[in-house]
């Protein structure tokens, strides 16, 4: 059993047995892995606060053949995001991120870009970034990385450029212009394209002054969340708490 090590972010933990925890890690090199941290619930255990959700850690673990769960032998805390979760909205937003990662990406698939996205979003939140804006930023990038972010620029049917408002297609895989849309159910405002262009060039913002108003942001998130819910076939539990 060779000892392996990875840089990881703790997505969530749940109790098992009397003193142990199962930890879901999002590692940089192996994607989502689950491991047993023995004695993690004992007072004064060797893991300390490193297994708290969203901790950036270096995890050391053993893997056995034909076993899905690894055994966590040690966990060094690199950066803690315990304090920022004192704000209820931030705490719920981070639970939402962790639920999305587990739902959209299979276990053990390397997702380096997503790992860096999550870490930089956490750091931006830690530096005082707006949780709503960073939520939209993360949702848009997550859909882009997983390859399901539709093209909002041109009409799916007539292929003409959409300059004004468009309408999200029923299968959430594109946009229809006002002339081609079969149903006027979910409107897409022009600022969504501006937002997608903006996030391509800009790292997660740490400042409070943002180029989009809260109302614009609300519409942007509504569209992105409609796509997320459509592909998950359910509303994320943490999103309903966040709402």
């Amino acid at each position: 059993m060779p000892l392996e090590q990875s840089e990881a972010i703790v997505l969530r933990t749940f109790n098992v047995g009397e003193q142990d925890k199962i930890v879901v890690f999002f590692t940089q090199d192996k994607g989502v892995i689950k491991g047993v941290a023995k004695g993690a619930r004992k007072f004064g255990n060797r893991f300390g606060s490193s297994l708290e959700p969203m901790s950036h850690v270096k995890v050391f673990y053993y893997e056995k053949e034909r076993r899905d769960l690894v055994t966590v032998s040690n966990c060094d805390l690199l950066e803690s995001f315990f304090e920022i979760q004192n704000v209820l909205k931030t705490s719920f937003t981070l639970s939402y991120f962790s639920e999305l990662i587990e739902e959209f990406f299979p276990s053990r698939s390397k997702e380096d870009i997503l790992f860096r996205l999550l870490l930089s979003t956490l750091q931006a939140l830690g530096a005082g970034g707006d949780s709503d804006f960073l939520g939209a930023y993360f949702e848009a990038w997550l859909l882009k990385i997983s390859g399901i972010l539709p093209n909002f620029k041109t009409c799916k049917k007539c292929k003409k450029e959409i300059t004004d408002a468009g309408w999200l297609s029923p299968k959430k895989d594109g946009t229809f212009c006002i002339h081609c849309t079969p149903q006027k159910k979910e409107e897409i405002r022009p600022e969504l394209n501006q937002f997608l262009q903006w996030i391509k060039k800009t790292p997660p913002p740490k400042k409070k002054e943002l180029p989009f108003t809260p109302e614009q942001l609300m519409h942007i998130r509504k569209t992105l969340q409609a796509i997320i819910i459509f592909h998950m076939e359910k509303e994320p539990k943490s999103l309903s708490c966040l709402k």
């Binding site: 969530r12 109790n15 098992v16 047995g17 009397e18 007072f43 004064g44 060797r46 300390g48 606060s49 490193s50 708290e52 959700p53 969203m54 805390l77 803690s80 315990f82 304090e83 979760q85 004192n86 704000v87 209820l88 705490s91 719920f92 639970s95 939402y96 962790s98 639920e99 539990k237 943490s238 309903s240 708490c241 966040l242």
Partner: protein, 201 residues
């Protein structure tokens, strides 16, 4: 190999439903129970039935009890000005063991946990608010676990209770007794520094 209709199989299946008990442990417990003398296994079965039938949540504090109000709520020797809020009924016994706290308790029966779908609406706080409004509490100690979920719940409770004229406190976080500073992580040491106390003569 036992058949599906074998009574032992049913016992194993029922035991497997208990959190923390897997297939192997369930099988081991089932074979142990089968090996017990008849009166001992009857006594165990009766104890489970009776505990289930006779216990319920206290109408005042939500603790598990067999009398209403529970022992802690009906004890007149307790300080009515102090309240300790805990996550689960079993947390009360940990605090009681210290012998330091002599106030009243309130059990939340859970914490905010978005991943389990428990948001502020699911956390039943109406009973707590009613108790604080009608009671004579001077201090409320929020004793949720020192985890992200426990902290978020504590802050949420502080937010909804701050309008009442009552002192809100939180259990201290920091180094566990008997540990070594060298092995503590930065969050633990930071919390220990924040919650440091003055040395007295």
């Amino acid at each position: 190999m036992l058949g599906q209709d074998h009574p032992l199989n049913r016992l194993i299946e029922e035991l497997k439903k208990i959190p923390g008990i897997g297939a192997k442990t369930a099988q081991r417990i089932a074979f142990y129970l089968i090996g017990l003398p008849q009166e001992e296994s009857d006594s165990l079965a009766n104890a489970i039935k009776e505990a289930k039938r006779k216990t319920f949540y206290c109408s005042i504090c939500n603790s598990i009890t067999h009398i209403d109000p529970c022992y802690h709520c009906s004890d007149e020797g307790r300080d009515d000005r102090l309240m300790c809020i805990v996550e689960e009924p079993y947390n009360i016994s940990s605090i009681e063991k210290t012998g330091v706290f002599n106030g009243r308790y309130h059990v939340l029966l859970g914490v905010l946990s978005p991943l389990k779908g428990v948001g502020p609406d699911e956390l039943k706080t109406e009973k707590l608010i009613k108790r604080v409004k009608e009671g004579n509490f001077k201090e409320i100690i929020i004793a949720t676990n020192p985890t992200v979920e426990g902290e978020a719940t504590a802050l949420y409770l502080a937010k909804i209770l701050k309008s009442f004229n009552v002192k809100l406190t939180r259990l201290a976080m920091g180094l566990p007794v008997g540990s070594d500073i060298d092995f503590a992580d930065q969050v633990t040491i930071k919390k220990a520094l924040e919650g440091r106390t003055e040395l007295k003569d």
